[in-house]
């Protein structure tokens, strides 16, 4: 690679390229980063930190529930803890961590130099971070939300929740949704417009497909929860009556809006997980994925159906019989595309040579756990069972099997898989096996008994229970399981520290995988690919002929990026990408002030809009022409008319 790069680019050009794509160092410099690798890394680390915080909250709950009549936590604190735990896991961990993987790896997997709209992605990170800090500062000030992660009215209305706790929940939603919507737009554009020549849509890596499908779901789902939380704030702050039955509003409206988001949210978390599973199974079965088309269509079908079954969260609310039947049928039907993916994965492994490295072991753990979660999902889709089990620990067990099985296990697999690419270091295979064993056993010990507890009638969200109920021993087992899970996570963190200090350097492609992120060094250089590769198949590193062409002719003195056609990825034009900037950070600060202020007074929206406006104008204000390589005014026309064909390029 290096010889080849020098042959086509030369040392001086290479140095200039790397310096054009370098983000500044130092504290102030770090606030201006726009490199997707830098932001992706921050997303992953921050989301993982929130995972740890929410994990600590979970451990406190398990401690409280480990024996009957326990008084370790007060009921009020317990309410704040379970709400903050759920809110963190959904909004500050699961979605951002998957999007973080997308931010880091999508451009690499499609052979691009950058992510589309890098400053927007930088802005989204700051919004995500500030939202998370806002939640935890509120929690420490005894103002943590305490009405459950879905914050139903009338409980969340000011009559029953007069403090600011429910507002904290509602505004946290706004922070995180703004962030994930921004990322979704960037990821879609990256996958559609920045693919390297030759990567037609039907050669798009499965993980990229999964991220695209997820991002479209984000576009249609997240607005719903923002509308719901905004209406809730309006009810609480300016006396609107959306959810107030006394003035002919309806709490059920909130439930509809919330679950129109909330159910797709499960797939927003789970579809990237399946994308990881497909990718890793192909790599570790040493063959291309079986049924590429079937898997892609399953992802798309899941996304569509995911919007058609939200009402199954509301079976207990007295909805008409016809819609119960419809949503039951829809909830069972969505198992079909996922089943299709399972069979494709089995076929891939069956016809390949399975290599049981740690990432693959995590995938096997995923199979076992997610399968159980999926099956209890089919059980819960039946209305009579659903009504019986509603709000019991059976539901808690079900969604932890789905989410930890469907997202956390694939995520750990991805961390083991991509850690060498991100850091240039390898995690220990031996320690990894112990971590998997501990987490797998600990997880099942913690959550399997909850099925039984739920069937025995233990409701969720209770801070304690009398010993006469006979729930004590199973709860103790669950709490002991949590100890094993905590041990697994600690061991995992120790191994990361060890690996980062180790001298052993990871090779560029330690797993002999097939996708483009492995075609560059570990960690990748600033420009991702000094010479962007082109591709001749779905698994380029396995299929590309030795003389597959590389892209040359992009300028090295500016951040020049090749933009290609949507379907066939033919070269279309070049586009100068933005340089590092402090403005996304400043805009996030002013937006944060507006959001937090609007908890206290509606006028914050009016006056807060002024600094937001100023910072966005600063963001978009063009730099003067002599600063960069941009063309001075007045211009010479070089842009083609809309219908003009591009000046050069062609099929690979």
């Amino acid at each position: 690679m290096t010889t080849m790069t020098r042959a086509a680019l030369g040392d001086d050009e290479l140095r200039r390229l790397e310096s054009s794509w370098r983000d500044p160092g130092g504290f102030w410099g770090s606030l201006t980063h726009v490199d997707h690798k830098s932001i992706g890394r921050r997303y992953l680390i921050t989301a993982f930190a929130f995972f740890l915080l929410a994990g600590i909250l979970a451990a406190l709950m398990r401690l409280q529930l480990s024996r009957p009549d326990n008084s370790f936590l007060s009921p009020d604190l317990y309410n704040q803890i379970f709400t903050t735990h759920g809110t963190t896991m959904m909004f500050l961990f699961a979605v951002p961590v998957m999007q973080g993987l997308g931010i880091y790896f999508l451009p690499l997997m499609v052979g691009a130099r950058a992510i589309a709209f890098p400053r927007l992605v930088a802005f989204s990170y700051w919004m995500f971070l500030f939202g998370g800090i806002f939640l935890y500062v509120s929690f420490l000030l005894n103002a943590g939300p305490d009405v459950g992660w879905f914050s139903y009215p009338p409980l969340a209305e000011s009559l029953y929740s007069p403090s600011k706790r429910a507002d904290v929940w509602a505004q946290l939603i706004t922070f995180t949704e703004v962030a994930s919507l921004a990322v979704a737009v960037s990821l879609i554009t990256t996958a559609f417009k920045l693919r390297t020549p030759g990567m037609t849509l039907n050669r798009l890596p499965i993980f990229v497909w999964a991220q695209v499908v997820t991002s479209f779901m984000v576009l249609f789902a997240m607005p719903s929860v923002m509308l719901a939380s905004t209406a809730l704030i309006c009810d609480r702050l300016v006396s609107t009556h959306f959810f107030d039955a006394e003035h002919r509003g309806d709490p059920l409206l909130f439930q509809h809006l919330f679950w129109f988001f909330g159910h797709p949210e499960v797939y927003i978390i789970f579809i990237p997980g399946t994308g990881l599973v497909s990718t890793l199974i192909s790599t570790f079965s040493r063959r291309p994925l079986f049924g590429y088309l079937a898997v892609v269509l399953s992802l798309v079908a899941t996304a569509f159906m995911g919007f058609g079954l939200w009402v199954h969260h509301m079976f207990a609310t007295g909805i008409p019989a016809l819609s119960r039947s419809f949503f039951t049928a829809a909830s069972i039907t969505i198992a079909l595309p996922t089943g299709m993916q399972f069979f494709c994965w089995i076929a891939t492994m069956w016809s390949g040579r399975v290599v049981l490295k740690t990432p693959m072991l995590w995938i096997l753990g995923f199979f076992a756990i997610f399968l159980i979660g999926g099956l209890t999902g089919v059980i819960l889709a039946a209305v009579p069972v659903n009504i019986q089990l509603h709000d019991t620990f059976f539901v808690v067990a079900h969604f932890h099997y789905v989410l930890i099985g469907g997202a956390v296990f694939p995520l750990f697999a991805a961390i083991y898989y991509w850690f060498p690419k991100i850091t240039g270091r390898l995690l220990s295979e031996r320690t990894g096996r112990i971590v998997i064993a501990l987490l797998f056993v600990g997880f099942n010990l913690t959550f399997f008994p909850m099925h039984v507890l739920g069937l025995h009638g233990m409701p969720r969200r209770i801070y304690t229970y009398p010993s006469a109920m006979g729930w004590g021993s199973l709860n103790l087992v669950a709490s002991l399981g949590a100890v094993l899970m905590a041990a697994a996570v600690v061991l995992f963190l120790l191994d990361i520290v060890r690996a980062l200090r180790a001298r052993e350097v990871a090779p560029d492609n330690p797993w002999d995988a097939s996708t483009l992120e492995w075609a560059t060094s570990s960690p990748p250089p600033n420009s991702n690919f000094p010479l962007p590769p082109t591709v001749a198949g779905r698994d380029p590193l396995w299929q590309n002929p030795p003389d597959q062409p590389v892209v040359v002719g992009l300028r090295t003195d500016i951040r020049d990026v090749l933009v290609t056609h949507v379907l066939d990825a033919e070269p279309d034009h070049r586009f100068e990408f933005p340089t590092p900037s402090i403005w996304p950070f400043l805009t996030a600060l002013t937006t944060t002030a507006l959001f937090i202020g609007s908890i206290f007074t509606p006028w914050a929206v009016v006056w807060g809009a002024i600094p937001v406006f100023i910072t966005t104008v600063g963001w978009f204000w063009p730099k003067s022409p002599d600063e960069g390589g941009t063309q001075p005014w007045p211009v010479r026309r070089t842009l083609p008319r809309p219908n003009e064909s591009p000046a050069a390029g062609g099929a690979i």
């Binding site: 010889t3 080849m4 042959a7 086509a8 589309a116 979704a184 737009v185 554009t189 559609f192 249609f220 607005p223 719903s224 923002m226 509308l227 209406a231 309006c234 300016v238 006396s239 609107t240 009556h241 959306f242 107030d244 003035h247 002919r248 309806d250 409206l253 809006l257 082109t534 003389d547 597959q548 062409p549 590389v550 892209v551 040359v552 002719g553 992009l554 933009v563 056609h565 949507v566 070269p571 034009h573 070049r574 586009f575 406006f613 978009f620 063009p622 022409p625 941009t630 063309q631 005014w633 010479r636 070089t638 842009l639 083609p640 008319r641 809309p642 591009p646 000046a647 050069a648 390029g649």
Partner: protein, 201 residues
């Protein structure tokens, strides 16, 4: 290894209009997001309709037709200078861009001002009942769009006068026009719901 096959892209233009450009896809993303918000808000409106025995609720009258209808016409008419600005942008015609964007802004001043009268003639306040809340929400959501779109356009227009006018600024002009279309066209169903649903239900 000595002979590396290459694909030389240096002759490609430094930008493109329409769906070929990244900006178009960014605009499309925003349009999908905000279109979903409008659609859901309209859905919420009709959900609340089913919670009332009569609509508009007894004791209330439907919003006055006049200002809403006038504003609809003004918004529709603004598509003419908008299209001309878009076309001037695509032809990299600075004089045309300046002229038609200023005309667009004049329309913007008009429909933002008329919007004040619309609020005054809704014949209900937001804190009266759920009907008042949802009507104010719908009109408020759209007003946020016409205000921000007006400010966006004003900043971009100013840039086209003061410079520095990079070539890619014309792509922004084009995408600004695309977004303007969205804001105008999204108004039509909202207008229908606010002003005509209470009369037709």
């Amino acid at each position: 290894m000595s002979e590396v096959r290459t694909l030389d892209v240096s002759a490609l233009p430094p930008g493109a209009f329409g769906s070929r450009s990244l900006m178009w896809w960014g605009t499309l993303g925003i349009v999908l997001i905000e279109g979903t918000v409008f659609a859901l808000a309209i859905g919420a409106y009709f959900f609340l309709v089913t919670r009332y025995p009569s609509w508009p609720p007894s004791g209330l009258v439907a919003p006055d037709l006049m200002w809403g209808t006038v504003n609809t016409l003004v918004l529709l008419a603004s598509m003419v200078p908008n299209q001309l600005a878009k076309r001037a942008g695509e032809r990299v015609n600075l004089a045309g861009v300046r002229l038609w964007m200023v005309v667009c802004l004049l329309f913007g001043v008009a429909f933002n001002a008329i919007r004040v009268y619309e609020f005054r003639h809704l014949n209900v306040t937001w804190d009266h009942d759920a009907y008042g809340s949802i009507v104010w929400l719908l009109l408020g959501l759209h007003t946020t769009h016409i205000v921000t779109d007006f400010l966006d356009t004003a900043v971009l227009t100013m840039l086209m006068f003061t410079g520095p006018v990079e070539e890619r600024r014309y792509i922004d002009v084009e995408e600004n026009a695309v977004y303007w279309y969205f804001v105008v066209l999204a108004w039509l169903p909202i207008y229908g719901v606010i002003y005509w649903a209470p009369r037709l239900i």
